[in-house]
Amino acid sequence: MLLEARIEEAGYRGKPVLRDVELSLGEGEKLLIVGSSGSGKTTILLSASGVLDNLLEGYTRGKVSLAGLNPLDPDGFTRVPSKAGFVLQDPDKQLAMPTPLDEVMFTLENLGWSEEEARKRAVEVLAEMGLKGLELVPVENLSGGQKRRLTLAASLAHDPVILFLDEPTASIDPWGLAELRSYLKRATGRRGIAIIEHKARYFLDMVDRVVAVRDGRVAGSWRPRSPSLVEELEAVGADAGSYTIREPGRSVGDVVAEAHGLGAGYKGRAVARVGELTVRRGEIVALIGPNGGGKTTLLKTIGGLLKPIEGEVILRGRVFYMPQHPDYLFLFPTVGREVAEVKASTGVDITSLPGFEWVRSVMDRSPYRLSHGQRRWLAFGIAMAYRADLYLLDEPTTGMDISLYRTFGSLVEELASRSGVITSTHDVRVVAEHADRVYMVSGGRAWEVDKVDAVRLLEEAWR
């Protein structure tokens, strides 16, 4: 066995998160660990790798053997990187160097490779990951999918026997996901791979075993060939990925925004052009397309945050842009002060909005210390309070589990009941279940596509 973990209890600052978790990973095995946000699946990774005990203020009671090492012991933990590779959730919280070549060489030089050997191997592994020609490109200029492949390259360059991937789909588009899946499908041999993910459906066809985690315990284990797997996973709170295509048919009102011959970009260079785009009150318009295609730039230009390179945007009413990262929207050290300031500015008490009663229980806490889901939820509350005529949402469902996604669904429908909404998204569910109209943004231009075709395109892209 490459990994054997018998965790009696593990958690942070004396507060348990995991109890009675037994987990194993054999040679050549691909294991999928699923569960909702807060279920404890990432804590399993942190505990089994020794990070919880050695780097964070956490503890693990039990036994862990990782490629023959004891990662709970400081000496064993120090040697873990020579045996295992780790791909964490957000590439921007993992990449430490300015270029792909530097990033991969950093791993190898840490592990004792000479500069010359490290450079040769880095070039090889970058080519294997489809990053040939991008070795010296600044990391900031890579797309989300390219950054994900770079984290993979930097974790695999030394040929580890175990690879851990923590929510690898969180920041990539369907095309980037297809590249990741392509690597995982090709990965055969001795290496064991553990994928921690709440969107189970992206990996069910390629793993050997699925383990569901719920409330810090293992809720079940399956072979993916089981015919009732999707239903069983959903029964334990995991997101097996089913969705329905809603027919467009919401009643719409007056026009809140229109763009004519719009070129959106920076420094005089348009990265996305759209001939005509009109949004009406009561309508949800989705922008889809590969990372780096210009969706965010288009949103910001429509919202007046960037000047059009060409053409014009006509806004009829107030506009509110919600960034992808909810933390950007918080301006005060406590939730209470955020709520008070929003009330002073808009007259709306967030805690009185339907579905926001929970905010009263966290008024003394820093908004930055809330869970990822709560932060996103609170950011939605702030946005709703401003009663804009047009809402611009930038990848609003990134990293959401199924439960939070359902909450998002009701909130965005609430927004659309009195405003127009444009949202950039890679999430096929947002397009299928909420969008009325869809624009594809790719190759420097944006054009309207049929909604059913868009769903099909997003589905086919990642497979």
């Binding site: 790798s49 990070v51 050695n54 780097l55 964070l56 120090t78 040697r79 873990v80 990187p81 020579s82 295992a84 780790f86 964490l88 957000d90 921007d92 919280k93 993992q94 990449l95 430490a96 160097m97 300015p98 270029t99 070549l101 530097d102 060489m105 950093f106 791993t107 030089e109 840490n110 592990l111 004792g112 450079r119 010296l136 600044p138 900031e140 930097a154 974790s155 030394h158 910001k300 945050l305 509110f320 842009y321 919600m322 960034p323 990262h325 933390d327 950007y328 929207l329 918080f330 301006l331 005060f332 050290p333 929003v342 500015s345 820093s366 930055y368 702030i382 946005a383 401003y386």
Partner: protein, 249 residues
């Protein structure tokens, strides 16, 4: 423009200055800028190091340099508010700016320009991997410290991107585009700090999981480059001026 070690791989003839020399130079100017409060001496530091650093920094971190400009304006307003005594120096409409306020403004602003310029000189010309290598291998700096310093360089473009997002979010919430009051600055830096700290923690975890603790200790003798002599000359010149061995007006 000075280029750091990675440019060698791109086929250039070689960097004119070493990373270690550049770091030591920046630190030296920082010490000098803190050590003196004489406006003429600070002006000399600002001229020799501060302004070139800001010009180089502006090309990569324009908005940060612009924010620095705003803070200089804020310094002036504070000094006028708190220390506006002495003989009149000049007036702006009904506001008469007096000697003490003007002297303190000039001293503090020149010090800020020198400090920021020295930092930006390093940050805008060195890449993180070269920094880790040079600081650790040439200067013998502990690897944790070298990595922290190097990662700070990687953070700058990310902070720049974060700053644009935060400013966009502030606009949505009806805040002034240009921050003026301490409250404005707090609301600007609070989210930036939060995102940066979280990123720093996870990059640290990721580095450990990629064997940073196993990184072998290597030492080589620092190799002096042509530009290092120029840096040494400038460092000595500024030291001499600040020490008062050469009189400036």
């Amino acid at each position: 423009m000075m280029q750091s070690g990675s440019s060698r791989r791109r086929g250039d003839s070689g960097p004119p200055v070493s990373v270690s020399a550049l770091l030591l130079y920046s630190m030296w100017v920082t010490v000098l800028a803190v050590a003196t409060s004489d406006p003429w001496k600070l002006g000399f530091l600002a001229l020799v190091t501060g302004l070139p650093g800001l010009v180089l920094g502006y090309r990569r971190y324009g908005i940060l340099v612009l924010l620095l400009g705003l803070s200089l304006l804020g310094t002036f307003m504070n000094m006028v508010l708190l220390y506006n005594v002495g003989d009149p120096v000049f007036s702006i409409g009904p506001l008469v700016v007096r000697e003490e306020a003007w002297r303190r403004t000039v001293s503090l602003d020149l010090r800020i320009i020198s400090l920021a310029g020295a930092g930006l000189l390093f940050a805008s010309t060195v890449n993180p991997r070269d920094a880790v290598r040079s600081l650790e291998v040439e200067l013998g700096m502990p690897r944790g410290l070298a990595f922290a310093l190097a990662f700070a360089l990687r953070l700058l473009p990310l902070v720049y991107r974060d700053l644009q997002e935060v400013m966009a979010a502030r606009r949505m919430r009806g805040y002034k585009r240009v921050p003026i009051t301490p409250g404005d600055y707090r609301s600007l830096f609070m989210p930036l700090l939060s995102v940066t700290v979280e990123r720093g923690i996870w990059v640290g975890v990721a580095a450990e999981l990629r064997g940073f603790s196993l990184r072998p200790r290597r030492r080589v003798r620092p190799r002096l480059r042509r530009g290092d002599a120029m840096l040494l000359f400038l460092a000595v010149l500024q030291g001499v001026v600040v020490a008062g061995l050469v009189q400036v007006p």
